[in-house]
Amino acid sequence: MLAHGFGCDQNMWRFMLPSLTSDYKVVLFDYVGCGQSDTSAFDRKRYQTLDGYAQDVLDICGELKLQNIVFVGHSVSSIIGMHAALKSPEIFSKIVMVSPSPCFLNLPPDYFGGFEKDDLEELLNLMDKNYIGWANYLAPLVMGQNNNPELIRELDDSFCSTDPNYAKPFAKATFFSDDRAALSKLDTPTMILQSSDDNLASIEIGEYMNKQIPNSTLEVIKAQGHCLHMTEPNTVFQAIKNFIE
């Protein structure tokens, strides 16, 4: 199962997908509120925390009766996958975390997630301002509580068609959560793939996670940026292949 990170949808996996589909059954999905998901299922309360998104993963596994899956999560989805595996460990055989971070905040003196609270608040504000240009920015006010699926469809179908009204709760849940305490409870064999130069999730964060998760390995991929699965799809694929076979 390939789980996309914050800011995009399942399209993020498109570069890696061709190498996987010949040998594996691959499940792709969009979290509720992302991509082409049915946004009428969005529940403000449920998606306030990453647990709500973890429930999406479990709901899909339940619906498709999936067992012994290899869960590959990018960025925040690594943490979402961890929550899901802690809740229903029997479903997960292995977890691959691509560019994960359990906490983006700097919490001195022991932990440096890379960002101050001000930075993350600016990010939410920046997102809001970038989303004003979206067609349905004011739509929920005009339409009332019930989302009209027809109108949602009118949303830009292009890459990363993230609906601003749902992206902000996702951003809040992603960037303001602190999931460090859960790491040591994860028993599922886990591989952490970290980029050698990623200003969202540094190697130090990868090392921290590797230390905390009992059954984990860390691989640092020499690359720039946070989206390893897009920029280094073959390297990521090979690493995953070696890990699961």
Binding site: S75, L126, P140, G144, T162, L200
Partner: protein, 303 residues
């Protein structure tokens, strides 16, 4: 007349490498605005000139979009000419030969307008929520009103259609309510309605629907409650209601008509009417049999 020079455009032009994020070009206007040392331009990276928040937005949105589609238009970012200064700007970016070509415009006024728009939106959202709440609540009893009950029931039947659990519909009517109003006055009548509403709220769960259906009639939809559970609920409710005293020796009594949802045809448009009608027939029966009792539609031997 002087020949035009490209350096006079009031727009920051920057080229960065898609892989390393290193600055490969910056025009004079940009170098000055961003306080860059023009002799050491190649030592800068993209993240030296944009805020940390902008860098997250770059990694999670701008870069994936550029990698996938080749360009990204009209994104707002913050430039950082100094460590403590952020300048709102709008950028267009295009990918060519592994380089990102940026044209960036200072957009402080636009940012201010957008901030005002955001505040207006937040205000509207809060107002909408407040008004929506008002349109759903019965002012006297603070229970859901009839319209909200219909909305919630329709939503519930959609959920039950996917994942069915036993659900009961109860119509509850205060016995001899007109007399209560006539003998003790309308104020006392209103008090009785409020007290019974509180009892209903207290005896039900948050996921149940509790509404004032009209006049002295209430609607309760019990979630995840089989026939036996519902019967127990009704018995308790009769006892609870009878503890509401009208005067000296006279206590309140209620009649209840009940109906149980079936698993089929839950999404038919007239589904609510059907079950309300069943509960109403049962309620009529309870009244006919002497009041202060519960009848279930399923148990009636209708001819």
């Amino acid at each position: 007349m002087k020949t035009p020079t490209l350096e006079c455009f009031p727009c920051i032009l920057v080229v960065t490498d898609i892989h390393t994020n290193k600055l490969e070009y910056c025009n004079q206007y940009g170098t000055e605005l961003l306080n860059l040392d023009s002799d050491k331009l190649m030592t800068y990276g993209l993240f030296d000139i944009i805020s940390k928040a902008s860098s997250i937005f770059f990694e999670s949105y701008i870069r994936p979009t550029i990698v996938s589609t080749g360009s990204c238009q009209e994104v707002q970012i913050s430039l950082t000419p100094n460590t403590n200064e952020k300048v709102a700007s709008v950028a267009n970016a295009k990918l060519a030969d592994s380089k990102i070509y940026w044209s960036i415009y200072v957009a402080v006024a636009r940012d201010k307008l957008y901030q005002e728009l955001l505040s207006a939106r937040e205000h509207l959202e809060a107002k909408t929520e407040e008004l929506t709440l008002l349109t759903r609540v019965d002012p006297l009893t603070s229970l859901l009103n009839r319209r909200a009950a219909i909305d919630d029931f329709n939503q519930k039947t959609n959920e039950l259609d996917i994942n069915f659990t036993p659900t009961s519909i109860l119509l509850i009517d205060i016995d001899w309510f007109k007399k209560i109003n006539d003998i003790y006055g309308h104020d006392r009548g209103d008090e009785v309605l409020i007290t019974l509403s509180q009892t209903l709220k207290r005896s039900t769960n948050a996921s149940d629907i509790v509404a004032r259906w009209g006049g002295e009639e209430f609607l309760v939809i019990l979630n995840n409650s089989n026939t036996k559970d519902t019967q127990v609920f009704c018995q308790k409710l009769h006892i609870e209601a009878s503890s509401i005293t009208l005067s000296g020796s006279e206590n309140l009594s209620i009649s209840i008509g009940g109906s149980n949802l079936e698993e089929n045809n839950l999404t038919k448009p007239d589904i609510m009417e059907k079950y309300i009608k069943q509960a109403d027939i049962a309620l009529y029966e309870a009244k006919a049999k002497g009041r202060s009792r519960t009848e279930f539609f399923d148990h009636l031997h209708l001819t």
